[in-house]
């Protein structure tokens, strides 16, 4: 039977990763994510799983990708400065279609910034940080049980779509100790596809929209994996038609499967006059605020994105048919608000509550903004 325990947010991630089958961790310490590596260094050897502290973040993600191609489920964890350093290898994982999970416990930025303060200012970097066109999946849990379930889901999505998946976490939650329900093994899905049989080494051969099959090294047909643009065999090719297809294969595996990938939660939205759009720690402020608003007779509701990339466009647009006010609450100077501006119809009024000074919003602040907005 499952049981509510007290765990630090970082430790929930680590435990969930192990529960999802993670059997490789390479990382480099950085506040406020270091506890993940520390926990792994203690627990993984017990399970004969591999832990290594690398010389930097570039090396960490490189090692994870290598291990993944050798059949492991690999995890690394970092924060802003390290995540910036990982961008080149993030692109590699996209290009070669390698499942790997990266935790970014966001802290105040830019640069060294405020290592001990929360922020939600890496939202756009998560989507666009590496060069070239690339698909990205990013999940962003806010409540303790979600930290567990979204971490498991991140591994499943990485395996299914053969793509890097980023888990965003707030500094506040990474460091907090909180009650959490650790579900029984077997009560949640752990996705693992057997390595695919291939003919003619055509490892990337599939139709647009199809999930890539798991193909990795050491399965009796020696394969080639390349960071250069490549053909169905993985061999370098700049042939325009081939490239066209490969680019689409990579992008569309995500966009053909939005229903599977996108997850969100809706609170009090059915009759809402104002939709609060938020995620992570800000969604927790917003939820408290929405409840307070309801008590005061204000019809507010919350749309909490759990998948932040790809953006939950369709679900929001459905809501915008009825709800004509949207308030974006985020701990940055305006990032996901651009997505709302982009997808919300013009008859929907847009308001934001933004801040980037290291303090999360209090529910009262969100409530005030809602009240101003509904006036």
């Amino acid at each position: 039977m499952s049981q509510r325990k007290v765990l630090q947010g970082n430790i929930i991630i680590a435990k969930a990763a192990l529960a999802a089958g993670c059997d490789f961790f390479a990382g480099y310490p950085i506040t406020p994510s270091s506890e993940i590596a520390q926990y792994m260094s203690k627990e993984m050897p017990k399970m004969e799983k591999a832990f290594i502290q690398m010389e930097d973040e570039i090396a960490s993600l490189g090692a994870c990708i290598g291990a993944s191609l050798a059949g492991k489920k690999a995890l690394t964890a970092t924060s802003g400065p390290g995540f910036s350093l990982m961008q080149e290898h993030l692109g590699f994982a996209v290009m070669a279609e390698v499942p790997v999970v990266i935790v970014n416990v966001m802290r105040g930025g830019p640069s060294t910034g405020m290592p001990t303060k929360p922020s939600q200012a890496d939202m756009m970097q998560t989507r666009w940080g590496t060069h070239g066109d690339h698909p990205i999946i990013a999940v962003y849990p806010a409540f303790s049980d979600e930290i567990f379930s979204e971490t498991v889901r991140a591994f499943n999505l990485a395996e299914k779509y053969w793509n890097p998946v980023i888990i965003l976490l707030d500094e506040v939650l990474a460091k907090a100790h909180m009650d959490v329900e650790i579900p029984e093994p077997g009560s949640y899905e752990v996705y693992w596809e057997k390595t695919h049989e291939i003919s003619d080494l055509n490892i990337y051969d599939r139709n647009i929209g199809e999930n890539p099959p798991r193909i990795d090294f050491f399965h009796s047909y020696p394969i080639h994996i390349d960071s250069l643009e490549h053909d169905a065999h993985g061999w370098p090719s700049f042939d325009a038609k081939t490239v066209d297809k490969m680019q689409k294969l990579r992008m569309e595996k995500i966009f053909y499967n939005l229903d599977d990938i996108i997850k969100y939660k809706e609170y009090f939205l059915d009759d809402a006059e104002v939709l609060v759009f938020s995620f992570g720690i800000s969604a927790r402020s917003a939820l408290a605020a929405v409840k307070m608003a309801r008590e005061q007779g204000i019809k507010a509701g919350l749309f909490q994105a759990l998948t932040v990339w790809p953006f939950p466009r369709a679900a929001l647009q459905e809501r915008f048919k009825k709800t004509k006010k949207v308030l974006t609450v985020e701990l940055n100077m305006g990032q996901m608000k651009y997505e709302i501006e982009r997808i919300a119809p013009p008859d929907v009024k847009k308001q934001t509550l933004l801040r980037a000074n290291g303090l999360p919003f209090s529910p009262g602040e969100v409530l005030e903004t809602i009240k101003e907005f509904v006036k």
Binding site: R4, K5, V6, M114, T116, F143, S144, V172, L173, K175, A176, H177, M178, D179, I281, R284, S285, L287, A288, K291, P360, S362, P363, G364
Partner: protein, 178 residues
């Protein structure tokens, strides 16, 4: 609905982080509550003002930082000055009588000045035990967890060989305010 919000303030802060964590452990694992402890640090590497918020409730907790504080325990002036916000009008406030001297407007708070640090050193023998002393003080003043659970948990949690010291610390805490 039961919901209690507690704040600890100190410099350095390892002690109050432990106090908060213990409180949450007991509330969740022994008393079936929902609870969260969230620490806030400042810039200084060591010895900067730190606060720890603990919320304990019988319903899931939305926002993890305290908004209307029932109980505030603070062992230093600087964190007192910075973190005394968001206290309820009738909050219970316990400050170290040596280290927090300027209280400013105390509204309707019930304020207790007690020599927490000193008594810990003298009575329990090691300043590290401020965590347990603070926990006991909290238990006594708020009753948010039961005394028996606290004792049982500390016995289980304390490293072998230091159980006695920890029990002494509980005693110190229970007796600081009569």
């Amino acid at each position: 609905m039961m919901k209690i919000e507690i704040r600890y303030g100190a410099v350095g802060g390892q002690g109050i982080i432990t106090a908060g964590a213990l409180l949450v452990d007991i509330a969740v694992e022994m008393e079936n509550k929902f609870a969260i402890e969230s620490p806030t640090y400042t810039a200084a590497v060591r010895g900067g003002p730190t606060k720890v918020d603990v919320i304990i409730s019988d319903e899931p907790i939305d926002f993890p930082h305290a908004q209307a504080i029932d109980f505030f325990l603070c062992t230093d002036q600087k964190p007192y000055d910075i973190y005394k916000e968001r206290l309820k009008d009738d909050a219970i406030v316990v400050v170290d009588s040596h280290l927090v001297r300027e209280l400013g407007d105390t509204r309707n708070w019930k304020v207790y000045h007690v020599p927490i640090i000193n008594e810990t050193k003298v009575g329990a023998g090691n300043v590290v035990l401020t965590s347990v002393v603070s926990l006991a003080l909290t238990q006594k003043m708020t009753n948010v967890i039961s005394y028996d659970n606290m004792v049982a948990h500390i016995k289980h949690w304390a490293p072998k060989g230091s159980v006695e010291m920890n029990m002494k610390a509980i005693e110190v805490g229970m007796n600081l305010i009569k």
